[in-house]
Symmetry: none
Subunit: 126 residues, 4 copies
Amino acid sequence: MFQIDLKSRKAIYEQIVDNFKRLISTGVLKKDEKVPSIREMAKILAVNPNTIQKAYRELENQNYFYTILGQGSFISAPPEFTNVKEIRANYGNLKTIINELMFFGESEEDILEFVRKECANSIKRN
Amino acid sequence: MFQIDLKSRKAIYEQIVDNFKRLISTGVLKKDEKVPSIREMAKILAVNPNTIQKAYRELENQNYFYTILGQGSFISAPPEFTNVKEIRANYGNLKTIINELMFFGESEEDILEFVRKECANSIKRN
Amino acid sequence: MFQIDLKSRKAIYEQIVDNFKRLISTGVLKKDEKVPSIREMAKILAVNPNTIQKAYRELENQNYFYTILGQGSFISAPPEFTNVKEIRANYGNLKTIINELMFFGESEEDILEFVRKECANSIKRN
Amino acid sequence: MFQIDLKSRKAIYEQIVDNFKRLISTGVLKKDEKVPSIREMAKILAVNPNTIQKAYRELENQNYFYTILGQGSFISAPPEFTNVKEIRANYGNLKTIINELMFFGESEEDILEFVRKECANSIKRN
DNA sequence: GTGGTCTAGACCACA
DNA sequence: GTGGTCTAGACCACT
């Protein structure tokens, strides 16, 4: 499914959250699909079940997962109404990244080309 | 200069580092400009001098600052050779952000327009 | 493990860094071996935990250590690709030392003999 | 004569001391040669006279310089009797450097070749 | 004045 | 248990 980097500075539960977000926003995991149980996931990634639980709870809080007691966790539907706060934050980060790339000498053409390609991939998937 | 959010989950010293990086990569702070001394900055931001020092040391390690003992800290020159590792990390983050923006329903046109505008601003500054 | 000289002009944290580097480059400490926790080490050397942390962080920055949050610090694998900058610095220092030894009247034979012996020891260890 | 790197982590007075040691042990500066006065040197290197004074005092203490009041500072004669303590320290450093070079993957042949060349240069000069 | 080091002790997040 | 952050305050070395 994905790999955890124990040596990373990022907390393990955060890595799990980010990986699930990525798989969801890239369409690998579809709406209402069941995700592995906490115990299964703990075995798969070889980390403590408490850590998985923390990640799942976080994903639930952020509306990426929903849980049916006794049945497990599932992927939520994509947000119906635009999440203004999230989008603003993303544009803020986008701005920072572009500034840094330009600062490091990347050309406008290269950056635009990269963005165009990623948008296209994203559209194709959905 | 900038504000620190004491309630943020991000460490204070990291906020300082990120703010300085932003000011440098957006050209607000120029090469060889002196930054406030550790003690001054501590007063300005109302945090402990040790915390400022930690931030300044980090900025020095990442080559955004240089220090002259007994004189203070200064803004480094922009990197002469492209920092491949840093650029790759930025493209990785860029990919994630674009995926999230598309997931939240933003259009390719809007994103490209935003990127184009930021690139233009960046070029104008330099 | 090793001793700290509190009277030395060299900072305590630097002594710790240098000692660990020595133990690693001489093969005493092997890849993935766990080093004492910050608190343990602070007790062993009778210095403040903050000082140990500073040393450990420095060793992490220089890729001699890696850290797993909540588990401790470990010895990194030897560098896969030659660290050109570090090697150059070492050759520079080597030059200085040889000049000084010759200046103090040591013979070429003695110096070469010493170097040969140290190289051999180093090879034997690996 | 030589350049001072203000951005270096090493103190300016230490850089001056080390540079003079280098010039003396490599034979560029000969016995009884006069070195520039403190004021001259301060102008040449564009640093504070106090800093030069500190460096010169240090060189005097370590017997690389001698001073005649009212006439200035001069290069001392090479040590007649071997300075056992200095030599030991140098061999200690030599050991560390060789270990690091081997750790970074340098070959015994390369290191020996480098040492041989430096010894030869040193002999030629004297 | 500047940055650098160190201590003592508190509190937090993660596994 | 682990490392990470932060504060308060002291002392040092360099310019």
